[in-house]
Symmetry: C2
Subunit: 353 residues, 2 copies
């Protein structure tokens, strides 16, 4: 079916089948949201009549760090635990056609036939704005479809991943030894969002050095109070006793864990799942999860409100009439975008309802 001719009747059909738990309807629903089809917000509203409680893990890092392979391994692990897993992969550096992603997806395709797994890629290079908001809406949609676990994979090259990080419970930042320079450039921002650092492709030269550098950066940021705790770490942290870690965390907050993995051999994956569990226990026990969910709900509401305000101003005949008149005044230097914008806002708020 041609989605450009999607009617509200067929949207209702999608909704019914979505609520009945049909994966094809989830797929269609995501397309509705991704393309911001007429009525997509009403669709989301109708779909979201439920508590969002999927456990959300985000993986971010530079292109080629092996995020997709790690996501595939994590997915395999969680379905082996009887969980239903939804995967969303966002690559803002790829064109809509998404050719670049296909190679990475081979392993993913092996597990994609499992009925407990749902995988969606968004390759959205060149789409103007709104990527982060759309991604969060798709995560919400996947969440209320009823997955136990949501894995969000984002390429960390711009700014989008920082926003998406705020839409998950646990942020895993994936680094590789050879991407030294880009890591340097990314570090400042990544330190703020990472709950767990992974040095993937750990068999390659420089991985121990990178682990050490990341730990130093963490401790530098944490300050002197953390030095005792930092000494507790071995060259690769071993998370055998999560209770012990949690005790420290409750006192100290969460200090990002640093682990080595090799997605090709599966080395370190068990430790990664343990680290994720450890972080989940901490955010639940400390009240941090509740805090994050509340904050991201507020952010979601505000984003929708802002989009609606903007859309109504775009549709406003009063606004458009004045705008058309005033453009020439700005071009000739007799007005500025600021004086015209303030006039438009005042008119819009007073007279245009």
């Amino acid at each position: 079916m041609d989605e450009s001719r999607l009617t509200s009747t067929s949207m209702n059909e999608v909704l019914e089948r979505f609520k009945a738990g049909k994966p094809a309807a989830l797929s269609r629903g995501i397309s509705i949201v991704e393309n911001q089809r007429d009525g997509f917000e009403a669709f989301l509203h109708a779909a979201m009549q439920t508590k969002l409680q999927g456990r959300r893990i985000g993986l971010t890092g530079p292109p080629g760090a092996g995020k997709s392979s790690l996501v595939a391994l994590l997915t395999e692990f969680y379905i082996s635990q009887g969980e239903r897993v939804g995967v969303l992969a966002v690559d803002p550096t790829s064109p809509q056609t998404g050719g670049a992603l296909l190679g990475d997806r081979i392993r993913m395709n092996d597990i994609a036939i499992d009925e407990n797994v749902f995988i969606r890629s968004m390759a959205t290079r060149g789409s103007l704005g709104g990527l982060a908001a759309t991604t969060k809406e798709i995560l919400d949609l996947m969440d209320c479809f009823g997955f136990d676990r949501l894995l969000a994979e984002t390429v960390g090259v711009g700014q989008t991943e920082f926003e998406i990080a705020r839409a998950v419970d646990t942020v895993v930042v994936v680094l590789v030894p050879e991407s030294g320079d880009s890591i340097q450039a990314m570090k400042a921002g990544l330190m703020e969002i990472a709950d767990i650092f992974i040095v993937n492709k750990a068999d390659r030269p420089g991985s121990d050095k990178l682990v050490k550098e990341v730990r130093q950066a963490i401790h530098l940021r944490s300050g002197h109070n953390f030095k005792g705790f930092a000494g507790h770490h071995g060259p690769v942290i071993e998370v055998h006793d999560t209770a012990e870690l949690n005790e420290l965390d409750d006192e100290l907050g969460w200090e990002p864990l640093v682990l080595k993995t090799n997605a090709l051999t599966g080395e370190g994956i068990q430790e990664l799942t343990q680290a994720i569990e450890s972080h989940e226990e901490w955010i639940q026990g400390s009240g941090e999860l509740q805090k994050r969910r509340k904050l991201r709900t507020e952010v979601r509401i505000r984003e929708v409100m802002h989009r609606e305000l903007v859309n109504r101003s775009i549709a406003s005949r009063t606004v458009n009439k004045i705008l058309t008149k005033r453009v020439e005044a700005v071009l000739s230097g007799h007005a500025t975008p600021y004086s015209v914008a303030m006039e438009l806002v005042d008119q819009f708020l007073e007279k245009d309802q």
Copy 2:
């Protein structure tokens, strides 16, 4: 002086000195805009009481393509022609400290002491949203300071550069032979914004192949009508007779030029400046420049208006009171961000002025 304690009095001082043409005041003004200091829009409004008529050239492309070197060479050329040149370099992949840029800037520093040149870098990795809008405001500010020519350099890795491209008259896309894959990924979007393609580092293997590929992509996009014109191109286009090109352009629109350069030897730079001139003549003669300026003025007004609407809604006590109440309802599944947002918009537009 500590800018965090910038008062409106000192902002007025900056403004006076800005209008008197002091580069230090431009620098301070840019910081005011970049940090969105209280009153920055009033500052921009007061600064912009003039027609914007600087000729604007944007350079974009992948990291390491040699954009900075090309900008330095172009700057040298334009000041040798007696022009005053403003340069704005935006790298959304670098942290605020901007260490990564310093290496590239050495050549730039050689010309930075010329009194007819002003250079500003923004390394803004991790800044949340608004980068494109801020960049455009800084370009406007530099424009009304009175430069004959504005050069905007943006790293093409995300989406920001597409928006910034719309803030200039002539878009130069810089490619290098070795970045084949990323170019493939970028092509779709770049085709839409490029007025001139540069294959830099033309001494490296693969440069002729890349020139050929880019031309094929252009012709594929232009369709059959352009075949005759395409045949006019040699392996490297020679722009000796701009009138001839313009005649074709008036009939056919503008077909992006493809040139080879070597920023290290200066090879191809003269051809680049001719291509830029040729494009400028075309946009002026064809009415395209007027169209672009009108469109970007409209976009600027709308951006300011949207920001103001959002800011007023954030400051609204009515909105915040309802929001605080309703978050719990969303968390428990009794409301959605969509129902709450619509309620907030209605309240804001009706009662909150």
